[in-house]
Structure formats: structure tokens, C-alpha cells
């Protein structure tokens, strides 16, 4: 009689352990399946980029013909350069405006600052498609269509509200005492900003940079409309134009897809943490 509960007591942990192991392996298996679903497109891209036209249509085997075609027949380098240039200048401008404005919203009180900030937040809700036509007309009048500057201005206008919102949220987290102490010590607001607030805010700056980089690099609509000249096309727009043409071989398209996706993926892998923070920081409210 006394032995029975003892065995049960000894037996139970093993049963639990077994059950936990089964559960863990099941979970692991499910995660692997999902991972395959998420990674398959990337595998597909690479797998077919290393084929030629006949290998793609069922012959099997691999080759690097399509890569050669991609770089010789298409202005890929030019497009990569355009993308890089536009991203870099846009991000610099967005940072210049959003850090200063964010600091002002968070730390300086002036008339109607609350309302202006509300305006910035409201601007977040304006869908691009609603303003793109007036924007197109305006820039057309200024002669900025098909210039880098035109596209950059649009990207900056689109990216700044959210960036400002993020920066303001971040600066609010910096203690007022620190700023006040600096001002008491005789620093002007400008110097306080440059010497104290700005260096403190680099994590937020990194977040803004990564978010904007991915957004601008991956964008199609703005580039499609404001940079219609193939000379200034970004890689993403060039790719979409290729696919719309339907004449290019699919392996070449896949190689192009991979080339255009790679920089964003690399940035993502390096700055993953900042990207996640940026996505969820929108909830700071």
C-alpha cells in the first residue's frame, strides 16, 4: 500500500518530463515548418536566379548565365547607385528635421506647440495616394519631376512625420533636469541640443535611419511617378518596370529581385533590434 504512491511519485516526474519533451519537439517542428514557409521565397529566388531560360522551364541544372545577363544588359549598377544616393540624402534630411523638431516638441514650450504636434501626428494618417496627385502637379510646376531632388523631397515629406514622432517620444524620456542644468550652465538651446541631447539620442536616430532606409529602398510608387527617366530609376522601380514588361526572362528577374532585396536584408540583419523598437514605439502613446 505504501509502495504504490511512492512509485507513482517517482513515476510522475518522468511522465511530465516526457510530455514536456514531446511538447517541445512538437513546437520545434511547427516552428521549422513556419520557417520554411517564410524562407521559401528567398530560396526560390536564389535557386532560379542560377538557371538559364531552358533550365528554368523544366530542364533542371544550374548556371550563372542570368547573373551575367542581369549585370550586362540592365543598368543595375546605375540603379543601385541611384537608390543609395536617394536613400542617403533623404535620410540625412529627415534626421536633420526630425531630431531638431522632436527636441523642440519634447523640451521647449512655445505657443501652440501642442497643436503643431497634433498636426504632425495627423500627418501620419494621410495616405500617400491621397496627396500624390497634388504633389505631382506641384513638383511638375517646379520642374522637379525626373530629378533626384523631386523624389528626395517627396520621401522626406513622407518620412519626417513619423521620424519626428519617434524622436519626440525619445526626447521626452530624457530627464528635464539634465536639459535645465545645461541651460543654467550657460549653454544656449542650440548647444544643449548639439552637445547633450543629440549624442544621447543615437539609439532613436539608428531606429529612424533603419526604418527609413527600408521604406525608401523598397518604395515603388514615388519612384515610379517622380523618376520616370531610366537614368534616375532606383533598383526597386527598375525591377518593377522589368516585370511589367513581361519580356525579361524569369531567372534574370529573380537575380534582380535578389540583388535589390539584399541591401535591405543586410541592414535588417545588422539593425534588427532598432527596427523592432521602431515598429513598436508607435505605441508609446
Amino acid at each position: 500500500m505504501t509502495a504504490a504512491p511512492a512509485t507513482a511519485a517517482r513515476g510522475r516526474p518522468t511522465a511530465t518530463v516526457v510530455r514536456r519533451r514531446v511538447r517541445a519537439s512538437t513546437l520545434f517542428a511547427i516552428m521549422c515548418v513556419i520557417a520554411v514557409v517564410m524562407l521559401y521565397p528567398f530560396f526560390y529566388m536564389l535557386d532560379n536566379a542560377f538557371r538559364n531560360q531552358s533550365q528554368f522551364s523544366g530542364q533542371g541544372g544550374h548556371s550563372t548565365v542570368s547573373w551575367g545577363q542581369l549585370f550586362t544588359e540592365l543598368p543595375v549598377w546605375r540603379e543601385l547607385f541611384n537608390s543609395t544616393l536617394i536613400c542617403a540624402v533623404s535620410i540625412l534630411l529627415i534626421l536633420a528635421v526630425s531630431t531638431t523638431a522632436g527636441f523642440a516638441f519634447a523640451k521647449l514650450q512655445y505657443r501652440a506647440s501642442g497643436w503643431v504636434f497634433l498636426g504632425v501626428v495627423a500627418a501620419l494618417m494621410v495616405p500617400l495616394q491621397s496627396i500624390i496627385i497634388p504633389e505631382y502637379v506641384n513638383l511638375g510646376k517646379l520642374g522637379l519631376i525626373n530629378t533626384y531632388l523631386g523624389a528626395i523631397l517627396v520621401y522626406v515629406a513622407l518620412g519626417t512625420p513619423f521620424a519626428t514622432f519617434l524622436m519626440a517620444t525619445y526626447y521626452r524620456g530624457i530627464s528635464d533636469d539634465l536639459i535645465e542644468a545645461a541651460v543654467m550652465d550657460g549653454l544656449s538651446y542650440e548647444r544643449t541640443f548639439l552637445r547633450i541631447a543629440l549624442p544621447l539620442s543615437w539609439p532613436a536616430i539608428a531606429t529612424v535611419t533603419v526604418l527609413q532606409f527600408i521604406q525608401i529602398w523598397d518604395d515603388l510608387l514615388v519612384g515610379l511617378l517622380f523618376l520616370q527617366n531610366p537614368q534616375q530609376r532606383t533598383i526597386t522601380v527598375g525591377l518593377a518596370a522589368l516585370s511589367a514588361g513581361r519580356t525579361t526572362s524569369i531567372p534574370v528577374l529573380m537575380a534582380g529581385s535578389f540583388v535589390s532585396a539584399l541591401p535591405a536584408i543586410i541592414v535588417y540583419l545588422i539593425f534588427q533590434r532598432h527596427l523592432v523598437k521602431g515598429l513598436t514605439m508607435g505605441m508609446g502613446k
Binding site: M45, V120, S243, S257, I265
Partner: protein, 274 residues
């Protein structure tokens, strides 16, 4: 500083101003508000709105599946960090690229049909992108796939803010895992669910452009034309800038309405004090 703020504020005010007033776009002649009734009686417009409404049906999946994935990740099984990175990866990739691969996936010789044939459902093989409704389904599936990473991350962040002692208490009280998830975790995650809902709705209305452009170009017919794509089509393919701008304003109104309803919901729930 004030100068900087002005530099920021003016373009935004300008953008709002243009979005509100310039609805007649490039058309040199002033027609007046009657353009709205003309546009609203256009059957194509309603066809397009119907597509938008149907796409909204994908939202439960675009939120439910990531919720499940986040719950799995939150168990912290071996390699969960790796899986997290993998699941989030599509967020970094352009929807142009995603659309490009999706076209191949759904194509007649694509993987989907191959899979169907392999499991003996060969008779179901179709070219999904060729039919109006099936193309919309294909678009919705691609959309759900693209949103998985973002929404999973939002929920995972939410779950990491939960108080572990609360879950422990629920466990001590004898609740099963599923009960804990439904009765404790989910209600606490409400704010995050709402946030992802907003993001998903906004994306469904205003971020699908690249996907549509690459996958179907709005077709077949108007089968996959959503309002945002219709704006582009009207203005830049058909040259009707006024009509395009008008649809843009309608889109804007819809987005603001969604935003306000959302805000209302959050406010009223805060009033109840959870």
C-alpha cells in the same frame, strides 16, 4: 528652433491643404461638387470598393496567425531567437520582390499547382491570377504572408511586457495553457491587438500598391484594383487627374474614419478602466 518647427509645419500644412482643396487636380475647368456624384455613380468605383471590402476579410488571418506564432515563440523553445529573425525577415523586403516571387508561386507551372498535384488534387490546378476572384484571393494570401512578420513582432513585444507572476498565478489556480492564453494573455494584449489591427487595416488600404502593380496590375479586369490602385490608374494611366485626386480624397476620408473609430474604441475602453 522656431524656424525649424516652421520649416516642418508648413509643408505638412501645405500637404493637408492640397489634399483638401486640390481635388480637381489638373483639370483646368472647374466643375464643382457634381464630380463627386458622377464618381460615386460609377459602377467601377463600387467594384473597386468591393475589392477593398473583400480584402478586409483577410485581416482576421493576418492577425490570428501571427498571434499563434507569437504564442509559440514566447514559449522560448530551442532556437526561438533564430526563428524570430526568420519570421520577421519579409518586413525588410520590398513588396515588389515579394510580389515577383508570388507571381511565380501562383502561376500555372508554379509551386502551388505542383503541390496540389502531389497531394492528388491535380484537378484543382488553376492559374489563380487569371480569374478575377481567385486573383484577389492570391493577393490576399500574399498580403497575409507579408504581414506575418510585423504582426508577430508586435504580439511578441506585447507578451514580453506581461507580468510573469500573473501567468504563474493562473497556472497555480489550475487553468490549462489554452485557458490561460484565452482568459489572461489575450485580454492583456488587447492594446497590442488593436495596434496591429490599425497597422494591418492601413496596409490593406494604402500599402498594397507595389504588390498589385507587380502581381496583377489591377486585373484581370478590375478584379484586383483597390481604391489606392484606382487613384494611380485614373490619374497616371487614364490621364484623369481630377478623378484620381477625388478618389484619393475618398481614400483619405475612409482612413480618417477608421482612425477615429479606432481612437473612440480605445477611449471608451479606457473609460471602463481596464
Amino acid at each position: 528652433m522656431a524656424v525649424v518647427v516652421a520649416l516642418l509645419g508648413i509643408p505638412i500644412a501645405q500637404a493637408i491643404y492640397y489634399s483638401m482643396t486640390n481635388w480637381n487636380g489638373l483639370t483646368a475647368t472647374w466643375i464643382g461638387p457634381s464630380t463627386y456624384s458622377t464618381a460615386l455613380s460609377d459602377p467601377t468605383f463600387w467594384r473597386v470598393l468591393e475589392n477593398n471590402a473583400l480584402l478586409l476579410l483577410s485581416i482576421p488571418f493576418a492577425i490570428g496567425i501571427p498571434l499563434g506564432i507569437a504564442a509559440l515563440l514566447h514559449e522560448h523553445v530551442r532556437g526561438w531567437r533564430f526563428f524570430r529573425s526568420v519570421y520577421f525577415l519579409p518586413t525588410a523586403v520590398s513588396w515588389v520582390v515579394i510580389g515577383m516571387v508570388a507571381v511565380q508561386f501562383f502561376a500555372y507551372q508554379g509551386l502551388l499547382n505542383k503541390l496540389l498535384a502531389d497531394v492528388g488534387l491535380g484537378s484543382f490546378q488553376t492559374n489563380m491570377l487569371a480569374g478575377q476572384r481567385s486573383a484577389l484571393v492570391a493577393l490576399a494570401i500574399t498580403f497575409i504572408w507579408s504581414m506575418l512578420g510585423t504582426n508577430t513582432i508586435i504580439f511578441l513585444t506585447g507578451m514580453s511586457t506581461l507580468d510573469p507572476t500573473l501567468l504563474e498565478a493562473a497556472r497555480v489556480d489550475g487553468l490549462h495553457r489554452r485557458q490561460i492564453f484565452l482568459r489572461v494573455t489575450l485580454p492583456l494584449l488587447k492594446r497590442f491587438v488593436q495596434f496591429s489591427f490599425v497597422i494591418t487595416v492601413i496596409s490593406a488600404f494604402s500599402a498594397l500598391f507595389s504588390l498589385i502593380f507587380v502581381m496583377t496590375n489591377g486585373g484581370p479586369g478590375y478584379g484586383t484594383t483597390t481604391l489606392e490602385f484606382f487613384v494611380y490608374q485614373s490619374a497616371f494611366s487614364l490621364g484623369q487627374f481630377g478623378t484620381g485626386a477625388l478618389y484619393g480624397i475618398i481614400l483619405f476620408v475612409i482612413m480618417v474614419t477608421v482612425g477615429l473609430v479606432q481612437l473612440r474604441l480605445i477611449r471608451s475602453e479606457d473609460g471602463e478602466g481596464w
